[in-house]
């Protein structure tokens, strides 16, 4: 492990700025000063995450604070998700919050609270992604709830307070299960390791996982999946998610869906890696596969019937988290890599669409899809960006979500689950129908009478434009550094395994292929062949 100060700096930035915004009086910290500090914080986080990822790609595993902080390829993926989506939603917030102040939804005091808690929220998520200490990992995930609860309820209306209450109670209770799982794993480790102080470190536990008590580890994993699965939005623990996502300001919804859910999944993945080493992959993968399929099935139906744009998107998040759990549950290098790639792709596409829903709110003043019509004619740039987001999340090529969904289904066929994949595909078709409704009515439909033409401000369009570009780039060709990170992270989760190189199906050259059972390189379609052939026979 390479000692580094970067993990400390990346945590210190948003924490210090959050405290400064929240604690300094308004005459020192005006709204403009808050905005400037907020932008500096998000840019700093992005720059430091990029620097750390560069070092990790070079083969380093960064550690700080006596190994309490640790960044490997797995951590770097989630660090970059936080940094990129944090920066984009952070920039988007500038225009969105100013609009909220103009129309009287927020006053100056609440706008200040918003920026303070936004930074605190980002800090807690960064802590969860960099934690090597499993208790600190739990504390960080619990702190994400506490840091974001006031963001969810910031409008102070009856519905937003209701959403905030459900969010805090369900997630705190859920994460209490995570604490119990953490306590069981730590206790188990402290019996095995000579120094109990080492039992708190994920890296030490991973090295000594084979000596852990199998019964206790199974119980612990159930607790961990219930606990952190609640925060990740897995069915049936997802009840908080549609309310919190729909009632929060749109950039916060984007952060919740694009980043927070992934942070909770990251912790589950860390424990999955421990379980694979301690009790083998069968038990944890079966549990994740079951919850993943249930999430996809239930969320697809609930997604379809929603009339509120943001609630619809919230159920779409449950579905995609389910798909990530399916990838992890299918296992093998391809399944895990597909799940990790889908985490990245979903974060970008969902941030785009949730911020797009913010533009809808600014333009129409409602989230009711029966009233939001003809966005493309009324606000062409916002309409186009909304359509790109909807097409991407539907899983259409050449957008990024298609690539990772394709890889998950390829992993399913490779693992010998064609019927399960067929069921998932059927339910994803329901989702496509739901998104087509949005595109045909709200984007391409006839403009509502009395609506004023003209787009929203450039400040709220530029971040969406960048997100849309990223969605397209990741769809055309998975950049080589990301493909390498994902492959390395997959090997960390599975404690080795066949090398896997991740790419979109149409990338036939360079690093676009992955190894089959015989160590030969193959396209994703070829990877699916063995199972398909078996089926035919």
């Amino acid at each position: 492990m390479t000692p580094s100060s970067l993990p400390l700096f990346i945590l210190a930035g948003p924490l210090v700025i959050a405290l400064a915004i929240l604690l300094l009086p308004a005459r020192v910290m005006s709204l403009r000063a808050c905005e400037a500090a907020h932008v500096v914080s998000m840019v700093l986080v992005f720059a430091l995450a990029l620097a750390m990822t560069g070092q990790v790609l070079g083969g380093a595993r960064l550690e700080a604070l006596a190994s309490w902080l640790y960044v490997d390829s797995l951590g770097a993926i989630f660090l970059m998700i936080i940094a990129v989506v944090g920066l984009m939603t952070g920039l988007y917030s500038l225009g969105y919050i100013r609009h909220d102040i103009e129309v009287g939804h927020l006053d100056m005091r609440r706008a200040k609270i918003y920026y303070g808690f936004f930074n605190l929220f980002v800090f807690t998520m960064l802590l969860s992604a960099t934690a090597n200490n499993i208790v600190m990992m739990w504390v960080a995930v619990e702190a994400t709830t506490l840091g974001s609860a006031f963001l969810v309820g910031i409008y102070g209306e009856k519905t937003s307070l209701e959403a905030a209450w459900k969010y805090v109670v369900i997630c705190t209770v859920g994460v209490a299960f995570g604490l119990y799982g953490t306590v069981l794993v730590f206790s188990n480790g402290s019996e095995v390791l000579a120094d109990p102080h080492q039992a708190v470190l994920w890296t030490s536990l991973a090295q000594n996982a084979a000596s852990l008590d199998p019964s206790l580890m199974k119980i612990a994993f159930v607790f961990v999946v219930i606990g952190f699965g609640t925060k990740a939005g897995l069915f049936p623990m997802h009840a908080w998610l549609p309310d919190a996502h729909s009632e929060a300001p749109s950039p916060v919804s984007a952060l919740l869906s694009g980043v927070l859910l992934k942070c909770a999944l990251f912790v589950i993945i860390r424990y999955l890696a421990l379980m694979v080493r301690a009790i083998g992959p069968e038990f944890p993968q079966t549990l994740l596969l079951t919850l993943g399929v249930l999430s996809v099935v239930v969320a697809a139906m609930l997604f379809f019937v929603q009339k509120d744009l943001k609630r619809k998107l919230a159920y779409s998040s449950v579905e995609h988290v389910g798909l990530i759990a399916i990838g992890l549950g299918l296992g093998g290098p391809l399944g895990v890599a597909a799940a990790l790639l889908h985490s990245i792709n979903h974060s970008l596409a969902k941030a785009l669409l949730f911020c797009g829903s913010g533009n809808v709110l600014m333009k129409y003043g409602t989230r009711d899809l029966d009233k939001v019509k003809g966005m493309l004619r009324l606000a062409p740039a916002s309409g186009l960006l909304l359509m790109i987001g909807a097409l991407a999340l539907s899983g259409f090529p050449p957008f990024n979500v298609f690539v990772s969904e394709f890889l998950v289904f390829a992993a399913g066929l490779k693992a010998g689950h064609p019927w399960l994949m067929l069921v998932c595909l059927l339910f994803f078709t329901v989702t496509i129908a739901g998104f087509i409704q949005i595109i045909s009515g709200s984007v391409l439909g006839k403009t509502s009478e009395g609506a004023k033409p003209g787009d929203v401000s450039a400040a709220t369009l530029v971040p969406l434009g960048i997100l849309a570009a990223l969605v397209l780039v990741m769809g055309f060709a998975v950049p080589a550094p990301i493909a390498k990170l994902v492959a390395d992270a997959s090997a960390i989760v599975l404690d080795g395994g066949d090398p896997v190189t991740v790419a979109s199906p149409w990338q036939f050259g360079g690093t676009t292929l992955f190894a089959d059972d015989n160590g030969l390189l193959a396209t994703p379609a070829a990877a699916a062949e063995p199972a398909a052939e078996k089926e035919t026979k």
Binding site: V135, G153, E162, L184, A199, D213, P242
Partner: protein, 217 residues
């Protein structure tokens, strides 16, 4: 041997005090019972420390006394004192007798689960370990079976006490910072839940969880 018998016996009082917290008619009374229950927990920490010779556990006992016996109950009493919802009554959704039978069933089920654990540290204290797990689920029951949102906060506190006891039984030599991290987080969680509860009470004029059902679907 006598030490472990005492610990197993004392842990039974946790269930009794948990029921007192869950069945208390008003949040302020529940806060007092919670202080009592935390005192039992601290006594258990001291007993385990004496039996295992763990110096870390003595430190835990001290910090748990400060946070759980004093700080959290005082915060709750101060914040909840002015909040009343006479229409709500005790807020319990099931009769007290049924809650007691349910608690007994949870303890039996948890004992069945814990009996399969073979960890050496757990062997002499299996009854206490089962009770710590049961205590965790009793806390969950307290949230699910309660309409008063302020009393739901106590459910989380009970769950957290259960986890804490499990940690003390299975890892008495855990670093003090682990315990401090958990306790600090719990204090923040309670404060934030209490603040939100107060804002809801002010906006809705009620503490009834059944009135928080505007968002559906």
């Amino acid at each position: 041997m006598q030490g472990t018998l005492f610990i197993n016996g004392l842990s039974g009082f946790l269930i009794v005090t948990a029921l007192l917290v869950a069945l208390a008619p008003r949040p302020v009374q529940a806060a007092r019972f919670y202080a009592l229950q935390s005192l039992v927990l601290v006594a258990l920490f001291v007993s385990i420390a004496m039996t295992t010779g763990s110096t870390e556990l003595y430190l835990w006992s001290a910090s748990a006394f400060v946070t759980k016996v004093v700080l959290v109950p005082v915060i709750m009493t101060k914040m909840f004192r002015r909040l009343e919802d006479p229409e709500l009554g005790s807020g319990a959704v099931m009769p007290a007798a049924l809650s007691i039978v349910g608690a007994a069933l949870i303890v039996i089920l948890c004992y069945a689960v814990i009996s399969r654990v073979t960890l050496p540290a757990a062997l002499p204290l299996k009854p206490a370990l089962a009770i710590s797990l049961a205590h965790f689920f009793l806390g969950l029951g307290c949230i699910v079976g309660q309409r008063n949102i302020l009393k739901q906060v106590f459910g989380y506190c009970l769950m957290e006490n259960g986890s804490h006891l499990t940690l003390a039984i299975l890892a008495p030599n855990a670093p003090e910072l682990v315990e401090v991290g958990i306790a600090t987080d719990a204090v923040f969680a309670v404060v934030i839940m209490a603040v939100l509860g107060m804002r809801i009470s002010k906006t809705l004029g009620s503490l009834d969880a059944r009135k928080l059902t505007t968002l559906k679907g």
